[in-house]
Symmetry: C2
Subunit: 323 residues, 2 copies
């Protein structure tokens, strides 16, 4: 059973309230026509640092005792968690050490630096990342904050679904994307506690369907090599997140790259929301499973909006200079 | 003096309330750092049909007497007004005839058709457009709804600024883009009536600075040939809008194409809002005039979010398939 109670979830909500945004829930008639249901989008792309990751990072950083916090926090993440941890640490006035592979996109490194993070480059291997983090911990005494396999992180991520259920109390289904499972486990637990009649469905790219395989096989199947534009989801489940998903998720819907791009463009053009491909995975899952879900009111967690505008998943694009 | 009273403005607000969205006002700490002020963005990109234009079109369509309305409405617009009029007419259950030049972008024609508009193609000249509209009026008895030179339209557009002032009552300056001047005149009048201490500033592309020239010369200077990515602003002021701007606008700030693109990318990446280049013109004006404005609290009307994703104003873009 998860070591996370409704009390932990409530404490996380109180802890991050001074810092995190209570993001809006948005709807669109045209999106509803597309999906064939009433869809409620919880807009974590409008969260601080542009992703739900700030919730977990903020809860973890502000859970630390003063003495512990003073030595800083460390993580290895090339994505939104690194930026979120840097911002949470900045707000607490402590150091955030972020280990990033040397081949991480410049835009991601820039984000971490902009929030005041201290970036350490390493070779792009798991071993090199872990060694770099261990070295920083040995030198500074900083606390490791894992991107998802940490109850403080999961409790923080759970606050997004908690807010959604509070605002839209009668959802039939809530859908979010799954990567390492921090958001998914948080969403599943918040729904279990706060809206037990609501089912939990996850969206995952077919190209990296390790979470789907894991639920099928009843054990953690590591993510295979695979390319997807939903780059935030190329992560294996963790020991804490897997059992939560096994116990509280109804199904995982896998979607193709083409379906992700279609959903991405729908959210951009119909809702005018800049969302990242990982977020479109949840909408794509809602579209693919529309008949199967038999759901009238569907909550969708829009996980983030950090997009590299110079590398959009469609071509061609050209400067527009005339009518 | 304008033939528009605060009573007209109030009636427009009541008339469109069942149909138009009361759009959110959004803020961003990082945008504030960029602009050096507290900026409040009135998000008309989240308005029905993706632009403020729905407000004016809706007010005009629902201002008609039943008998008049039954014969339909007609306009010539290749842009957001055509789509907005089609949607407003659909809501009233009447026909909307939209005359569009044959070379209009397919995405614009698709939008008008999607909202149920009846599209008539014509040659891309003013004369051809007016002849086509006149022929439709002769055949159907439809009422011409001009995109901006119409008090019903101006009163409708004014409701955006009215909502902004109601929500953020102590703005020092409000900034919006200017094309034909419907939004600008509406914003100026709403501000004059509801927040008289607040100054009104307009943003305009340098490439089509006819409004700036018009205020300089004290007469309507027609828009010159010029290319700008803010394609919604390539329009001359009208006989109704010009005197309002002359009497109630403090200054027009012109901005370069590069400044528009910079502002566009800032709004997309920092605020996660999909806005169209015309909207970025207002933010670019706020950035350019930051010292001159000496304003602490600045309202910015985000005019719309209808963007052709296949023709973005930056290059290169390529499919992103790996880390």
């Amino acid at each position: 059973m998860p070591l996370l109670s409704i009390k932990d979830l409530h404490e996380a909500a109180v802890r991050i309230a001074p810092f995190a945004r209570q993001t809006p829930v948005m709807t669109s008639r045209r999106i509803d026509e597309w999906l064939g249901c009433e869809a409620f989008f919880k807009c974590e792309n409008l969260q601080r640092t542009g992703a739900f990751k700030f919730r977990g990072a903020c809860n973890a950083v502000f859970s630390l005792e003063d003495e512990e916090a003073a030595r800083g926090v460390v993580t290895h993440s090339s994505g939104n968690h690194g930026a979120a941890l840097a911002e949470a640490a900045r707000l607490r006035g402590i150091a955030a050490y972020v280990v990033m592979p040397a081949n991480a996109p410049p835009v991601k490194r820039a984000a971490v630096l902009e929030y005041g993070g201290i970036v350490t480059e390493c070779l792009p291997t798991l071993q090199a990342r872990e060694e770099a983090a261990a070295r920083i911990i040995a030198e500074t005494g900083a606390t490791l904050i894992h991107p998802y396999n940490d109850w403080r992180i999961i409790a923080g991520q759970a606050t997004a679904a908690a807010e959604l259920h509070a605002e839209i109390p009668d959802l039939d289904v809530v859908i979010c994307p799954v990567g390492g499972g921090g958001l998914a486990a948080g969403t599943a637990l918040a729904t279990h506690f706060l809206a037990p009649a609501c089912r939990v469905v996850l969206g995952e790219p077919q190209a990296v369907n390790d979470a789907w395989q894991s639920l099928q096989q009843g054990r953690i199947v590591p993510v295979q090599a695979g390319t997807t534009i939903a780059d935030g989801l190329r992560t294996s489940l963790g020991e804490l997140t897997f059992p939560v998903l096994r116990d509280h998720v109804e199904q995982i819907v896998t979607v193709s790259e083409a379906e992700i791009v279609t959903a991405l463009r729908m959210l951009w053009t119909r809702m005018k929301l800049l969302v990242e491909p990982s977020s479109a995975v949840a909408a794509a899952a809602a579209s693919r499973a529309r008949s199967r879900l038999e759901a009238r009111r569907v909550g969708i967690i829009v996980s983030g909006g950090n997009v590299d505008l110079d590398h959009l998943p469609w071509t061609p694009s050209s400067a527009r200079t005339g009518p």
